[in-house]
Symmetry: C2
Subunit: 433 residues, 2 copies
């Protein structure tokens, strides 16, 4: 079976959709050589057809009728770039059910219904390709699917949200507050007007779920990922962390602990010599550790129209080639590790405490007693600043590995101490060098 | 068409072959789940059957008769890990001709006969997989084949030889000489007794040829790559480079210049802030720049039994899955950019000169005249050290972009100056930050 033309239906014409459409039109000749078959854009679905579109994309292709494009018998590959769970998920499902190949960048749909959608694609013997859903243009889904498949993955440590990494980089390099850095990011178009999804770690949690499902051979959804955002970080945390030899990054972490999987997105202290500590601005990096390969890091632009279009077009070429060459898409590996999700309370890692206390004798002994009673061993205590007027002092305490449940209990007990003004921040420390 | 068992024939049982064989035997159950089919090691070819082998690999499988293993009708996938051009190339050819799938880590065979072998595999509709041939365990061949395919690649900058990177790291961090660092590398098993292939850049040139063929859609052989080794680097070069804000790395560089391709392996000054400047020890990193994706970097262990086995086993799984699922291997993209190879004389880049001159007035004017006459513009000159006894001084000259042919002419003319004691080193400067 072979086709001379593959029809493409594009759902969504935001910045990424526009870039994909432009490439399909303007680079048609080159893409045809790559695919071994002509790619023809058959329809582009937008919410509001009256808005001015890119001049490279013929106006006659633009429609608000998604069903018509998905159902068009001339469309063999549906490219979903609407984002959001619904109606995007419904159209993906519809397309797959009709035996059409689907390319999508939709992290929310995959992190929520990925297992079902992959199963449906397999049942219909069509491709469901989603390289752009995590890490933007960085090839990571493909390598996890194929190149790294022989490994038992032990961990993923990733910076997979460009917005928050930009904000943290500004805070670190310029000593600005979170609010100032957020406003700068919004002015530059790196953060949305409502930045909640990014700064609360939701976007990163979706992406981590997608990567972890592949890497650990266990179905993971966004809801399985514990998350804390970056809004309670203060400029002073960056300064103290820096003095101790650490950067602060929002990491997405998946770590296998025997038959359990610890999944979390939260700000971390990362040793400055660690490669992830050096990933600045809107760049993303994903470190995967496997029993054979050791640690391998993928670094690049995790967002933006062109990098994301690179991944989407790569997937479109793959789908088109498999149709043209009459190749069936690969089946899912039958391996299911069946890992359970480790509750955050069972996490064991190192912690950084920043606390403000009344500046008087004996306070440290009381704190040490609280921690010691809970088996939390102190690695170092540094008095960072004392305030003459208020008679208070700021302490930074670094611990040896301790259990999260104990750390939370310790925070409660510390808050109950007479001398405790404030437990200002508690951060986890991650990343072996 | 489906098989319940896939027979594997393994040619070569060095450190990588042993690791692959061990995994095939010891992880058979897990690999079967990954592949959806049982992988059975049918024969292992060694040069000397009398040598003691790994206890995990049944002695009855070991033979010196490569032909028998390649010809065995029960062997569907031939895994070539002998290395070297011949007889490895002959066996790869034989296996493909018989319609068998081939997995190989053989950079020399691919950099020499890659185009022919890929054509033969395509003709016979079998897979020729070689992820392990460049970058060891780092997924790079797969991403170039698929994920990055929509890009017009503009450049590759890579550290793809662990031996030389280890030596340069020692020289940089400890101020040792090349010879001392080489001996250390040999003692640790990072360099071979005859290190020529590594230190002269031959190994890196093979790997660059493989990557460039894929990235630029133009057949490239190892012979197309200009190469200079690292043996003439002195400890003092690292010190001066460091003072100027540069590291020194052996880079493999492919850069597209319109319809030509500049291909070279040589030591370079790389800005310290560049990601490649931070790649130390035996690690490898490959930076690919494309029109859509921008710059993406792949970092990990480029050699060693386990990382290389990770790539080989990933390819074995892929071959086995395609056989089990009755999938044809993907065809080669029909795109041929037909780029010509740019001679090294036409290279335009920045240069670092270290020269020793008689310490007297007017010498700099003479050097500046030589350079100016050849349109080589000086960015900075620093007198690094003068020697009272010999009345000589060492100068470091950094240029603006200049043509290689002019630089070579300038070196000749400088050598002719009365005041010139020695043109001690000339190095290229690479890597935009």
């Amino acid at each position: 079976m072979s086709n001379s033309t593959i029809g493409i239906g594009l759902l969504g014409m935001g910045v990424v959709g526009t870039e994909v459409a432009r490439n399909l039109v303007l680079k048609a000749g080159r893409l045809a050589q790559q695919a071994g078959v002509t790619l023809e854009l058959k329809g582009v679905v937008v919410r509001d057809v009256s808005r001015i579109r890119d001049s490279a994309v013929p106006a006659r292709l633009i429609t608000a009728d998604a069903r018509a494009v998905v159902d068009d018998p001339g469309v063999q590959v549906v490219v979903e770039l609407m984002g959001g769970l619904r109606p995007a998920y419904d159209y993906i499902r519809m397309a797959l059910s009709q035996g059409k190949h689907v390319v999508t960048a939709n992290k929310e749909a995959l992190a929520t219904y990925g297992s079902e959608l992959v199963g449906l694609a397999e049942e219909r013997q069509v491709s469901l390709l989603y390289e752009a859903s995590a890490g933007g243009g960085i090839p990571i889904i493909g390598p996890l699917h194929k190149d790294l498949l022989a490994n038992e993955t032990s961990s993923i440590h990733a910076i997979i949200n460009g917005t928050t990494n930009y904000i943290l980089t500004r805070m670190s390099q310029e000593g600005t507050s979170f609010q100032e850095a957020l406003v700068q990011a919004q002015e530059l178009g790196y953060a949305e007007a409502d930045p909640t999804n990014d700064i609360e770690g939701t976007d990163a949690a979706y992406k981590l779920a997608i990567l972890s499902s592949l890497a650990f051979h266990t179905p993971v959804t966004g809801g399985d990922v514990y998350r804390e955002g970056i809004s309670r970080l203060a400029a002073v945390d960056f300064r103290y962390a820096g003095e101790l030899g650490y950067a602060i990054k929002l990491l997405a972490i998946a770590r296998r602990e025997d038959s359990a999987l610890s999944l979390r997105v939260h700000p971390c202290l990362v040793p400055q010599e660690h490669l992830l500590a050096k990933v600045d601005g809107v760049f993303n990096a994903i470190e995967v550790e496997g029993d054979l390969v050791g640690r391998v890091v993928f670094h690049g632009r995790g967002a933006g129209p062109k990098p994301t279009a690179s991944a989407v077009l790569g997937d479109i070429l793959e789908a088109a080639r498999s149709i043209a060459e009459g190749r069936k898409p690969p089946r899912r590996a039958a391996l299911d590790n069946g890992l359970r999700m480790l509750p955050i309370h069972d996490l064991v890692t190192q912690y950084y405490f920043r606390v403000t206390v009344a500046d008087r004798a004996g306070v440290l002994a009381k704190i040490a007693t609280v921690l010691g009673d809970l088996n939390i061993s102190i690695a170092s205590v540094i008095q960072k600043a004392s305030d003459e007027a208020s008679q208070t002092a700021e302490l930074v305490i670094m611990t040896h590995p301790a259990r999260e449940a104990h750390v939370r209990e310790a925070v409660g007990r510390m808050r109950g101490l007479d001398e405790m003004v404030e437990v200002s921040n508690v951060l986890r420390v991650e990343g072996r060098v």
